[in-house]
């Protein structure tokens, strides 16, 4: 009897054991990694100090830039730099090795989509969710804006609804095949996203890598400006201006003896930076690639007045033992190079891609000029110049015509908004207007002239197909919808 009892107890014990749930047993989270689950974690996901964009597909197309000759000679039809610098329209850019720019943009879009798609099902307070979605949508709009202006024609009200744009990706699905939209559709999407989000942004987020309200409105203003809604652009810029109109006074740097001695605008302390986004390149993030693409053209160099601190503080045109710029720079080319020392962000934070208040000043000047208020426009320009030029006579006078005013704005934009997408986008949009379009000419080489490489003059017509960057090969191979926006 006892033996039987033992047997039954064993049987019962084993039975009970089998039926115990094991889900909690295997429910463990190892250390060293985070499973992104809560609303707070999704909110943190928006922070991305590595928001950097690879500029090589387009950067040498602009009249602002110059290149080291050894990087170009012999590569006139085989590298993006060679094709862009020599304005080689005959070259087949579709055969070029892929670059990371397209990938950069869409990987940031995916980061936003992950937040937008998943945060509603995550645990956490609703206000965080609302904020996170607004921030993610702002960034998503920003990346679509960069993409459409890089890979498609600039917005032209007459043709935008027929012009091929880029894919709008507003969902997370790794197995989908996105469809290409028109330029008009992309702009409609961007504007809708921003209009619904910017008001929800915080004025001072916990971390500088979250988009703030001043950035949101500045971006909205920029999109309206490119969309040619002058009135709306002006209003949005004014909201941004009311939230942050600070400018870094370059005279302070000059008086201290240079950025090495005046570090108050370093790291996150440049008061005019609205968003932290960089040009990527050699060796990783931030402005490292300034070394390679940090050369400004002789033409731009000549535009700077002698008292313009934007040149004298940051650029050099002579190789010395201390500045060690010889590796990236051809002495005697007439160009000037951004001092590599500046790349050390301990000393000065320059935003090549992200927006700054300075751009808001310039947008206010442009919208006022477009709307005919030349006095106000001039006022904004002069406010900016006061912080950028040394001496007492920094002001320009109110011009007589709208065209002259616009020329001043364009000139100031060239000098103020260096590197990144700035000049490339401006050339594309102004080239649609007969008054402001420009044929770029460039004499090259200047230093290494030889029989193999005689000096020639290269020109880039305002309507050149080079201004539209082809989609990368890997994406085209996998996505049949991605037809080129050019006739290559």
């Amino acid at each position: 009897m006892i033996r039987h009892l033992t047997s039954y107890i064993i049987l019962l014990a084993s039975y009970l054991f089998f039926f115990t749930s094991c889900d909690s047993y295997i429910d463990i989270t190892p250390k060293g990694a985070v499973m992104v689950q809560t609303a707070d974690e999704y909110y943190e996901l928006i922070v991305n100090p590595m928001r950097s964009y690879y500029p090589s597909p387009f950067i040498l197309l602009t009249d602002n830039q110059w290149a080291k000759e050894s990087d170009i000679l012999g590569n006139e039809s085989t590298s993006a730099d060679g094709i862009n610098f020599t304005f080689n329209e005959q070259a087949d850019r579709t055969l070029l090795a892929d670059n990371n720019l397209y990938e950069n943009m869409y990987s940031f879009i995916l980061r936003s989509n992950l937040v937008i798609e998943n945060i509603d099902n995550a645990n956490g307070p609703d206000d965080i969710k609302t904020l996170a979605k607004a921030e993610a949508r702002t960034f998503r709009a920003w990346d679509h804006f960069l993409a459409v202006n890089t890979f498609a024609k600039a917005y032209d009200p007459a043709t935008a609804s027929q012009d091929g744009g880029v894919c709008i990706v507003n969902y997370y699905d790794l197995e989908s095949t996105p469809r290409k939209s028109t330029v008009a559709e992309v702009y409609d999407f961007i504007i809708r996203e921003l209009e619904e989000s910017v008001d929800l942004l915080q004025e001072k987020p916990v971390n500088i890598y979250h988009p703030n309200k001043a950035f949101g409105y500045a971006l909205l203003a920029k999109v309206y400006l490119f969309h040619r809604d002058w009135e709306k652009a002006k209003k949005a810029a004014e909201v941004s201006f009311s939230l942050n109109s600070a400018l870094a006074d370059y005279n302070l740097i000059k008086n201290a003896g240079g950025t090495v001695y005046y570090k108050e605008f370093a790291k996150e302390n440049n008061p005019e930076v609205l968003s932290y986004m960089w040009m990527a390149g050699w060796g990783g993030g931030e402005e490292v690639c300034m070394m390679h693409y940090g050369m400004i053209s002789p033409e731009l160099k000549e535009l700077f007045a002698s008292n313009d601190l934007r040149y004298s503080i940051f650029f050099r045109d002579k190789v010395t033992a201390t500045n060690q710029i010889g590796n990236w720079f051809d002495q005697g080319s007439g160009a000037a190079i951004w001092l590599p020392a500046i790349k050390n962000t301990d000393r000065f934070t320059y935003m090549s891609v992200g927006l700054r208040t300075a751009e808001v000043y310039l947008m206010l000047a442009e919208t006022n000029a477009r709307l005919g208020d030349l006095t106000t426009a001039t006022g904004y320009i002069n406010q900016l110049r006061a912080k950028r030029l040394s001496g007492t006579s920094t002001d320009i006078s109110v011009p007589a015509t709208q065209k002259e005013m616009m020329d001043s704005v364009i000139m100031e934009r060239r000098k103020e908004l260096l590197f990144g997408f700035n000049r490339f986008f401006d050339l594309k949009r102004f080239n649609l207007e007969p008054d402001y379009q420009k044929t770029i000419t460039r004499k090259f080489p200047v230093v290494n002239i030889s029989e193999t490489y005689p000096q020639k003059t290269y020109t880039l017509a305002p309507n050149s197909r080079l201004y539209i960057i082809p989609f990368p090969r890997s994406a085209r191979d996998k996505n049949p919808n991605l037809t080129l926006n050019t006739d290559e």
């Binding site: 989270t29 990694a33 499973m35």
Partner: protein, 1093 residues
């Protein structure tokens, strides 16, 4: 948990049958030692009645008449015949068949023990006699050639094998190809090489799904089940083994080295060519900055700078031509390596208990001086019959290893140039002024820089002079490892047919490593000098040595509950056995403990506190290197591994009349959250199988030459766990160096993105097998055919980057392995005095990747150099791709592109004028598929010849069907050590016109030559792995001394090989993909003594 209820129902299924009223005979069958025999078939002569003994040796049979004659048969035993006239109970003792090889009778799957005749699965079985017939250093080498289909992939550098069963079945590096190792019924982390071969009773290799799918998501690579020994007799048995393994110094003969003089001439030619193409001696040496270049270059530089005369150069060269660094290294640094192993094991059995204990000590004196290791292991295992219904088994397996290893910078005989020397004619040390060693920071240094520094008279500068014999005991790494595996198994019998097991096994391993560099060691002198500050001229490195310490711990446990059911119904006609159970496992590797000290005093055990922040992050301006030098330090992040698994399983076997077998198994596996989403884990892995003992059929009775014939068919699905993939969205906090605010943020890669469709890798195997025994056991063996398809394999898929990710690993791969396996044993001679047995194991394996993706932009050379990572659908894994050689023009090889155009153009003189970069070739369109690098045919032949007390064993290994690349002239090499210096089939760098297109593209030409189709050869080889002579002490002598069986063994390994490629290429010591030679495994002489008390 609904499925468990269903299982219970299955378990209790019984089949009805009709009872006939005849005489029933019951009884028990044992061997001569009184051990019950399980699975003995009993058949009535002249009638169709039969039975099989159960695990206790008991049987019950219905016979047709009172005078029936019963025939007892059991593999490995003499057949036994008896009449049952007047008896209803029988007690049968069966005698061992003296002349047979012990065949597998009861095999262990780790979850249950099965008579082979009742199983449907494909097993490979090796017992201890077979394992220890030839001497082996460890269990891994003992398994080589023993099981058809289990191949050893031999690492050409170390000579060590890694087991691969039935080909490579997964693309995932995290899963790998290693079969699961099970010791005493529990899966373990141990390596085969860590298991003492003398503790092993038998090894069962589970090949097909019916055998292995009970292991579910662990078993796609197959399972190796190891059963350890236990007490067999009532007497206390003591076995003693003493073994010595003596490895001679390897020979350089097969390396085809050039003579020192030829090397000097070659390097001189290259030097002159390089000076010519750089323009001047100065420009050439400017490119080196402070970095190392050879003493010969230094000599020429000194001459060019006017420091020495032509006569000095000639004198030095003449002297150098006499030197041979390699053979000096061989003579002075190497030694005959000796492994000694002593093993004592005790076993005892009584009515109520059974004990086994063993102690093993091993001492290795390795080839390089100061490279030694010791290992102790103790294994204790006891079985207690606590009561009639409860058995307890418990034990512990421990292993301690201590080893010391010299600094890796000094252990290669190529560390210095061939014309350098270690000792002079009088045996005095020869000091080199500097050598190509980097120190812990800074980098290597060259002769001119060393001289400059010495001339500056810097007080802090320590000498750079070096002699390898002095440095061999510097910076020796000491490892102390412990491994423990305690286990317990409770077995309760109840309700007659049920048994309930609770098993628990814990594994703990600790590895400790420490390295001490003396203050005056070469590495420390280099490091000290690197930290001499430019301004202060003093070294920022504290005075003293360097001490590094690291400890790693890992632990793992398995907990299993299992219910066993075994019952025969209706007079043993229907036999059902079933198991069901659940298992919990945890695997953990803790964060390592690390420490690094400088300024260390090994006597006082003190160190100097360092300013890591400034030395590591900022660095100093080094006087020696003329640039900023930073201290290398420990990592600032840690990692740990922690996984849990829960599994449920069941297995049912049904047997009718001992002829027809049906088996089925099923298993669910669940892993923690970082593996899969639980909802995707509920797909069971399963198997079914059928077996037919044809020879038991009435209609086969007439065939007298056929002793035994069985057919088996199985199909089932196994799985693989890759814990690096996850269904969930995983990110890590990181600080980005270039972020101005240094903030932490969540970072992820494309592979960390949520993948809700992720699931287990699945491998389904179809297996047909046949076991046979003919002509009274003259010939026995088995034949298997399998089709193994890995599906849902994790493989990289390339995406449209518009989606936001460029590629990711998903369940998208499919790979097939098909094969044939034949095992044959022939007992050719079986007399009292003479015996000859031959065993052949042969396996054929063909692999094809049915679904895999490659990136269209991948360049052709990737497919050539790393076919295991760059794969083309429809080809086999590890495909040998080659460039298509068009012709050799004037010593320049030219290959063809995909359209058949030559990749280089030549002028009228045969000099290249234009070379297209090889990187423009994408994919494999321009390549030729030459076959595979993985062997297709593998196997072994072993012969065992016995004459009275003498025994001769030989083991041949063969492998073939695959390809290798010849070692060819390196056209762009600056230093050439092989006899290719004299080969001018293609041009050497120095033979090309100075500054020509050819010279600029020398590496391209070299790559074309090395990897073209002309250089591919067959990798077939046959090797006499071992030949072994054993002498058994005659019985009358051992009886006189009062000891048990005693044996003396002499063995030679790696005596001979034949290789299809020729050119002294032994594919086992040769990198088949790159075509580079490594030292051939030296001959090993082993002496062994074993006795029992």
């Amino acid at each position: 948990m609904k499925r468990l209820r269903i299982l219970l129902v299955i378990l209790l299924v019984s089949v009805a049958s009709i009872v006939e009223a005849q005489k029933t005979v019951t009884g028990v069958v044992t061997d001569t030692k009184g051990e019950p025999l399980y699975g003995v078939t009993i058949r009535e002569s002249e009638a169709n009645n039969s039975a099989v003994t159960n695990i206790n040796g008991q049987f019950s049979i219905i016979v047709s008449n009172d005078a029936a004659v019963l025939l007892f048969r059991y593999m490995g035993m003499e057949p036994f015949k008896t009449s049952v006239k007047g008896k209803t109970t029988l007690s049968v003792k069966m005698n061992e068949q003296t002349t047979t090889l012990a065949e597998a009778v009861v095999v262990s799957t780790g979850y249950q023990r099965l008579s082979r005749e009742r199983s449907t699965a494909a097993f490979g079985f090796v017992d201890s006699t077979k394992l220890n017939r030839v001497m082996h250093k460890d269990l891994l080498s003992a398994l080589e050639g023993q099981v058809a289909g289990l191949r050893m992939d031999i690492n050409p550098n170390t000579g060590e094998g890694s087991p691969i069963l039935r080909g490579i079945g997964t693309f995932s590096n995290n899963v790998g190809t290693k079969p699961l190792i099970v010791v005493d019924d529990m899966a373990t982390n141990m390596e085969l090489s860590e298991i003492n071969p003398y503790d092993v009773e038998s090894i069962t290799v589970l090949k097909d799904a019916a055998a292995a799918s009970i292991y579910g998501a662990l078993a796609a690579n197959g399972v190796i089940v190891i059963t350890t020994k236990q007490g067999k007799t009532n007497k206390t048995t003591v076995s003693v083994n003493a073994d010595w393994y003596i490895s001679t110094k390897p020979s350089f003969d097969a390396m085809h080295y050039a003579s020192t003089s030829d090397i000097i001439d070659y390097e001189t030619n290259v030097y002159n060519a390089r000076v010519a193409s750089s323009g001047s001696v100065k420009t050439l040496f400017d490119t080196y900055k402070n970095n190392y270049y050879s003493p010969l270059y230094q000599l020429y530089r000194d001459q060019a700078e006017g420091r020495i005369s032509q006569a000095d150069v000639d004198n030095t060269l003449n002297q150098w031509r006499q030197n041979d660094y390699y053979s000096q290294y061989r003579d002075h640094v190497w030694r005959t390596s000796i492994t000694q192993r002593y093993n004592v094991s005790l076993s005892q059995k009584s009515q109520k208990s059974n004990h086994f204990a063993s102690f093993n000590y091993e001492h290795d004196k390795n080839r390089i001086q100061n490279d030694n290791s010791d290992a102790f292991s103790i294994y204790l295992k006891s079985n207690f019959k606590v009561s009639k219904w409860l058995d307890v088994k418990l034990g512990i397996d421990t292993r301690f290893t201590n080893s010391s290893t010299p600094d890796g910078s000094y252990t290669s005989y190529t560390m210095q140039e061939r014309y350098a020397s270690i000792v002079d004619g009088q045996g005095n040390y020869v000091y080199s002024p500097y050598v190509n060693v980097s120190g812990y920071t800074g980098g290597s240094i060259n002769g001119s820089r060393v001289r400059e520094l010495q001339e500056q008279n810097i007080g802090a500068l320590l000498p750079y002079s070096f002699n390898v014999l002095e440095s061999l005991d510097e910076g020796v790494t000491k490892n102390r490892n412990v491994r423990m595996r305690p286990f317990i198994n409770l077995e309760a019998k109840f309700l007659k047919w049920f048994k309930y097991n609770v098993m628990f096994q814990y594994e703990w391993a600790q590895t400790r490593k420490e390295q001490y560099d003396e203050p005056d060691s070469y590495q420390m002198r280099l490091t000290h000098n690197a930290f001499i500050d430019q301004t202060t001229q003093t070294s920022q490195l504290p005075e003293g040595g360097r001490y590094y310490q690291q400890t790693n711990n890992s632990r793992r446990y398995t907990f299993r509950n299992q219910l066993n059911f075994e019952k025969s119904f209706l007079d043993f006609k229907h036999n059902v056995n079933a198991i069901m159970g659940m298992e919990l496992r945890e695997n953990r590797s803790s964060r390592p403990i690390e420490q690094l000290m400088y300024g260390y005093n090994d006597t006082a055990l003190t160190s100097v506190r360092m300013d890591w922040q400034s030395l590591y992050n900022v660095g100093i301006n080094s006087l020696v290197y003329n640039e900023n030098v930073k201290m290398s330090g420990l990592s600032t992040s840690q990692s740990e591994v922690f996984h849990r698994y829960a599994s449920f399983y069941a297995n049912v076997g049904y047997n009718y009349l001992y002829r027809y077998n049906l088996t089925g198994s099923i298993r669910w596996d669940e892993a923690d959250l970082f593996g899969l989403d639980t909802k995707n884990q509920h797909h069971p892995l399963w198997s079914i199988g059928g077996g037919w003992n044809i020879s038991e059929e009435q209609f086969m009775k007439g065939i007298s030459w056929l002793d035994f014939l069985k057919l088996r068919v199985t199909y089932g699905v196994n799985g693989n766990v890759d814990q690096s993939s996850t269904t969930y969205f995983v990110a890590r906090y990181r600080t980005e160096g270039s972020d101005p605010t240094n903030s932490q943020y969540l970072r992820y890669t494309d592979d960390n993105l949520p993948n809700p469709k992720l699931r287990w890798e699945k491998t389904s195997t179809f297996n047909v097998g046949m076991d046979f025994r003919l002509l009274n056991n003259l010939l026995s063996g088995s034949l298997e055919f399998y089709n193994r398809v890995g599906d849902d394999l994790l493989v990289r898929k390339y995406l449209d980057s518009t989606i936001g990710a460029t590629s990711r690993v998903i369940n998208n791969g499919k790979m097939r392995n098909q094969g044939l396996e034949l095992s044959l044993t022939a007992n050719i001679i079986r007399t009292q005095e003479w015996g000859l047995t031959a065993t052949l194991n042969y396996a054929y394996n063909k692999n094809k990747m049915l679904s895999v993706e490659h990136n269209p932009t991948d360049i052709a050379s990737n497919f050539i150099t790393a076919p295991e990572n760059y794969r083309i659908e429809g080809t086999s894994y590890n495909t040998c791709w080659a460039y298509r050689l068009s012709r050799v023009v004037n010593g320049y090889p030219v290959i063809l592109d995909a359209d058949g155009n030559e990749m280089a153009k030549f002028d009228a003189d045969g000099n290249p004028t234009e070379v297209t970069y090889t990187s423009t070739l994408k994919g494999t369109d321009a390549l030729v598929n030459m076959g595979t690098f993985t062997p297709i045919h593998t196997g072994s032949l072993s012969l065992n010849l016995r004459w009275r007390e003498l025994e001769l064993n030989t083991l041949f290994i063969f492998s073939g069907g695959n390809k290798l690349r010849l070692d060819v002239t390196d056209m762009n090499s600056y230093q050439m050590t092989t006899d290719h210096v004299n080969d001018h089939t293609v041009k050497h760098y120095y033979e090309m016109p100075t500054g020509s297109v050819a010279q600029q593209n020398a590496s391209t030409f070299s790559e074309w030559w090395r990897y073209c189709d002309e250089q591919v050869r067959s990798a077939d080889y046959l090797k006499l792995r071992s030949i072994n002579l054993a002498y058994h002490l005659p019985e009358d002598i051992i009886k006189k001394i009062g000891i048990g069986p005693t044996r003396l063994t002499l063995q030679v390994n790696n005596l001979f090989y034949w290789s299809a490629a020729g050119h002294d290429i032994d594919p086992e010591s040769y990198s088949v993909k790159t075509g580079t030679r490594t030292l051939q495994q030296p001959k090993t002489i082993s002496i062994g003594f074993s006795t029992t008390l």
